[in-house]
């Protein structure tokens, strides 16, 4: 069974949705309209919360801003509802940009409460503005008209709403399967991962935030012209919570979850409204109780929502769909590699102090093109700190680092990555739910340029083909060709390490910096890794490897830099290092 079954299901669903108004009565169409509007907001939440990791309790506020904008414009200035759309979108985008810039730098606990903050404040402010009708709101909003004919007649708003939902789904799906999409899907992997491939986590989150706000704004415009009456209360925090419930119930990890969740919540509430009064006289009050219980029971059985439940029970039998292997006319542009033997990395007098502790003390060394240099030392020698100083993850207290002639002492990880340094992590940072191909393709982030809009509109297909071509090349290089469709989380640790190296290679680096790649590997895996690194060196890749395992590096490197207690102990070829009595004393604890 192939995952294309979902594509087929999607087509069936689209056909059913198109035919629905013929089958359903007026009330049914009304329900479907509400579901569609809710689905748009929930879609934004799936993107923002499910993928971007930003739990937002304020989406209803954006719906409200858009709804009020278009309501005000069309009732005060008597213009067409279609003009209200760009007006609402622009106003909401500006508000989202402002709020995002203020709050998206907040850490994980603080961010949700900031969303409650503006989720509460916006409706309160709206309800205190005289021109917006204070608490009574704006009535008699004009309906959407096409060629003089009102869409309110015959329930034609249904088609507009669901066309919008369809477009939004299409856009989101394209976005997730693009360069930007891979970066967005890595947001939950941590900012270190993103910085190492040159992406800015904060900017990505901001883009996603504004995007989700625009989806909510679209929903708001539709709400205003469908219900033709806006008041502050449908846009308060309780409404935001309900949107979040929809997204969670449907499944935060999958796009269809938004539609399914919206459908479940609204249909369930409707059914309860019909059923409960038959059971008890206090039916109205039981609704909330029964709904809450059902939601909690759903969470017990299916934490990842409806879609997660389905995937969990069918997912193992599904093969993911791979992008087709197209022949590319022109592969991605390669970097100009420096001449063999020229100095590419130069560390001079690096010092790093943490308060009173000196972690790195006046360490200097060079790396020339085409060689493998090992940075070794016993535990606590300061290797990891040195590593962070070189890659830009930490800042130097004194000294300097030059890379390819540029002073990178003060540059961020992203800037250093842009110059041509690619790194791996000691604790592997792969995206477990993404395929091997996608994980490796992430490395090409800096070599390509397609942004959010191009990705959503599918204008980036050519560039994508080139990225995947490159990714396949690198996968073959590390011996994983033919396994592109596997999920990265299912690989053993050794293979994951190699996959990270492939991702680093896709970035076409000048210098490959590896952080304890042999840590935790079995003997056979270590051998395979060593073989890979030797092969890479034969192909001219420059490697700086920070390692703890003496045995592993001895057979691998051209030159060794030995650190101990933060200082450089000595530098030289493996044989010389092995003979050196100071090194022996450091590692074995020599006699005085």
């Amino acid at each position: 069974m192939n995952a294309s079954i979902f594509r087929k299901l999607g087509v069936v669903a689209a056909v059913l949705l198109a035919l629905a108004p013929l089958l359903l009565g007026g009330f049914g169409i009304g329900l479907m309209n509400d579901i569609g509007i809710g689905a748009l907001v929930a879609l934004g939440l799936v993107m923002l919360t499910g993928i971007g990791g930003v739990t937002s309790f304020g989406q209803a506020a954006f719906v409200g801003i858009a709804a009020y904008s278009t309501a005000w414009l069309t009732t005060t200035w008597h213009v067409s509802a279609w003009l209200g759309l760009p007006f609402a979108l622009v106003l909401t985008a500006l508000a989202a940009l402002l709020i995002g810039m203020l709050t998206l730098r907040l850490g994980s606990h603080f961010l949700p409460i900031s969303t409650i903050a503006w989720g509460l404040s916006v409706p309160l402010v709206l309800s205190n503005i005289e021109a917006l009708g204070l608490h009574t709101g704006i009535t008699n909003i004009a309906p959407v008209r096409i060629a003089g004919w009102s869409l309110q007649d015959g329930g034609a708003m249904y088609y507009l709403i669901w066309a919008c939902v369809g477009l939004a789904c299409w856009f989101c799906r394209n976005l997730l399967q693009s360069r930007q999409g891979r970066a967005l899907r890595s947001l939950r992997g941590g900012s270190a991962l993103l910085s190492s491939v040159g992406a800015d986590a904060y900017r990505l989150r901001l883009q996603l935030f504004v995007f989700a706000a625009l989806l909510s704004a679209l929903a708001g415009w539709l709400y205003a012209h469908n219900n033709r009456y806006v008041s502050p209360s449908p846009f308060d925090v309780h409404a935001s919570i309900e949107f979040l419930l929809m997204a969670v119930m449907g499944g935060l990890g999958q796009l269809p979850g938004a539609l399914i969740g919206a459908g479940i919540v609204i249909l369930l509430k409707n059914s309860l409204q019909d059923v409960l009064p038959l059971i008890s006289e206090r039916g109205g009050q039981l609704e909330v109780i029964v709904f809450s219980l059902l939601f909690l029971l759903l969470l017990h059985r299916a934490r990842a929502g409806f879609c997660g439940f389905v995937l969990r029970h069918m997912g193992s039998r599904l093969k993911p769909i791979l992008p087709p292997q197209i022949a590319v006319a022109q592969p991605l542009a390669m970097r100009q590699q420096p001449l063999a033997g020229s100095k590419i990395l130069s560390v001079q007098g690096a010092v790093k102090r943490f308060g009173g502790l000196v972690a790195v003390n006046q360490v200097s060394f060079d790396v020339s093109a085409g060689e493998i240099v090992g940075l070794i030392g016993p535990n606590g020698a300061g290797k990891s700190t040195m590593f962070n100083l070189v890659t830009g993850a930490a800042s130097l207290t004194h000294g300097s680092v030059h890379f390819l002639g540029t002073d990178v002492t003060k540059l961020s990880q992203r800037a250093v990555a842009r110059l041509g340094m690619a790194r791996t992590f000691q604790h592997v940072k792969l995206r477990p739910q993404m395929t091997l191909l996608d994980n490796v393709a992430l490395g090409a982030h800096l070599r390509t340029r397609a942004g959010l809009l191009a990705a959503g509109l599918r204008l980036d297909r050519a560039e994508e083909a080139r990225i995947f071509h490159e990714a396949r090349v690198q996968l073959a290089r590390i011996g994983l060709q033919g396994r592109e469709h596997e999920l990265a989380g299912a690989l053993p640790l050794g293979t994951q390490r190699m996959l990270e190296i492939a991702r680093a290679l896709v970035a076409d680096p000048v210098l490959l910096v590896l952080d304890e790649p042999a840590a935790g590997l079995r003997h056979a895996e270590k051998q395979a890794l060593g073989e890979l690194l030797r092969q890479l060196r034969r192909q001219g890749v420059t490697i700086l490897i920070v390692e703890h395992d003496m045995d592993f590096v001895m057979k691998l490197v051209d030159r060794l830099v030995v650190m101990n207690f933060g200082s450089k102990l000595m530098e030289g070829n493996p044989a010389a290092v092995r003979r050196d009595p100071q090194v022996q004393a450091a590692y074995l604890g020599g006699t005085a």
Binding site: R105, G107, L120, L187, L244, Q285, L299, R303
Partner: protein
């Protein structure tokens, strides 16, 4: 705005802040042990206040039925789990723990409602009556997903609030209640400014309880065991701490705290079945300012929220919440800047 106005607003703010502090402590307690932001905390406080009001009105509090229902369901859940684990011999103890024990305060409450007990007895009965609510509700609704991602736990907690508030509406009606003052009278701090004894009681209760909390968590073994569970569940199990039991202990303590808060604010505020939400929200804000880990900062946050709210309502009653939350954002920015920020904060969603 003369000095007398400032003093009044300040004392009002500090009194409210004391309440937010206590509620914040409860929330931080539960979060630090279970990673759950316990939104229904406010609802438990409201239940205790409404029960006390029922006692004073000579009526049987609806909370009794709530507790008994929860006890029955919890016992059934526990029996189910034990049967599945094939440990039928533990059923008797489970029924005792989840079924009989919660019924004791219910019986006490029934007795108190029937007789004209003195105020202190009524207060104690009201507090004890709501103590089982949080642990039982958590056992039924949260324990099965105790290891889910924090987002799922947060959503579950929110829905639990709707559930409990809905039950509150059904059992206690939509009307508000106040109770009689615990202590009457005013104290003159300055010639023109006096503070009610009730306010002083609230503030001193807050201080005493904060100190007790601090001592419990820093100096006793159980307190440290609770903190250990929060830091690493698996690690705690490896040294013999049972996370489920720690969680129960945390919920019981928090419930007790909530009950106390309820009877403290009932005389000065009209409480409704849904008042718990705003109380929980403001307490949550205070807890967040403390980073959900630090009790002293939670205290500072709570006082700040209370005072800003008080002055904000003077400046504009309708926009008071806007003022409080707008000022919150720079505070959060500051706090976030100084908080240690590790990549481990990022969590995958459940699959």
């Amino acid at each position: 705005m003369g000095w007398d106005v400032i003093l009044i607003l300040l004392s009002d703010g500090i009194a409210n802040g004391a309440i937010y502090l206590l509620a914040g402590l409860g929330m931080v307690l539960i979060f630090s042990v279970t990673r759950v932001v316990f939104v229904p905390f406010g609802d438990v406080a409201v239940f205790s206040a409404l029960s006390l009001a029922a006692f004073e009105g000579g009526k049987l509090p609806g909370t009794i039925w709530l507790v008994l229902t929860l006890a029955a369901v919890a016992s059934l859940c526990e029996i189910g789990v034990l049967l599945r684990r094939r440990e039928p011999q533990k059923i008797a103890r489970a029924v005792l723990q989840y079924g009989v024990l919660p019924a004791v305060p219910c019986a006490l409450a029934a007795v108190v409602a029937a007789t004209q007990a003195p105020q202190l007895v009524q207060i104690v009965a009201a507090i004890l009556l709501v103590v089982p609510v949080a642990p039982l509700a958590a056992r039924i609704l949260l324990q099965p997903i105790a290891d889910a991602s924090s987002l799922v736990l947060l959503m579950a907690s929110l829905v639990m609030h709707f559930f409990l508030a809905g039950l509150g509406l059904m059992f206690m009606g939509p009307e508000g209640f106040r109770t009689q003052l615990l202590v009457d009278g005013m104290i003159n701090l300055t010639p023109d400014f006096s503070v009610s004894m009730q306010t002083l009681l609230m503030v001193s209760a807050a201080l005493v309880l904060s100190v007790l909390f601090f001592l419990f968590f820093e100096r006793t073994v159980s307190g440290k065991a609770l903190r250990a569970t929060a830091v690493n569940r698996v690690g705690a199990r490896l040294v013999g701490i049972r996370p489920a039991r720690s969680a129960m202990l945390a919920y019981i303590c928090a419930s007790l705290l909530a009950g106390l808060i309820g009877v403290l604010i009932a005389p000065i505020t009209t409480l409704y079945y849904d008042s718990g939400f705003t109380l929980g929200l403001k307490a949550f804000v205070a807890a967040i300012i403390g980073g959900l880990v630090s009790y002293p900062l939670t205290a500072v946050g709570a006082l700040a929220v209370g005072i800003v709210e008080s002055f904000g309502s003077f400046w504009s009653g309708a926009l008071k919440d806007v003022i409080v939350f707008s000022l919150l954002i720079p505070v959060l920015l500051l706090r976030s800047y100084y908080a240690t920020h590790s990549d481990e904060d990022e969590e995958e969603i459940d699959q």
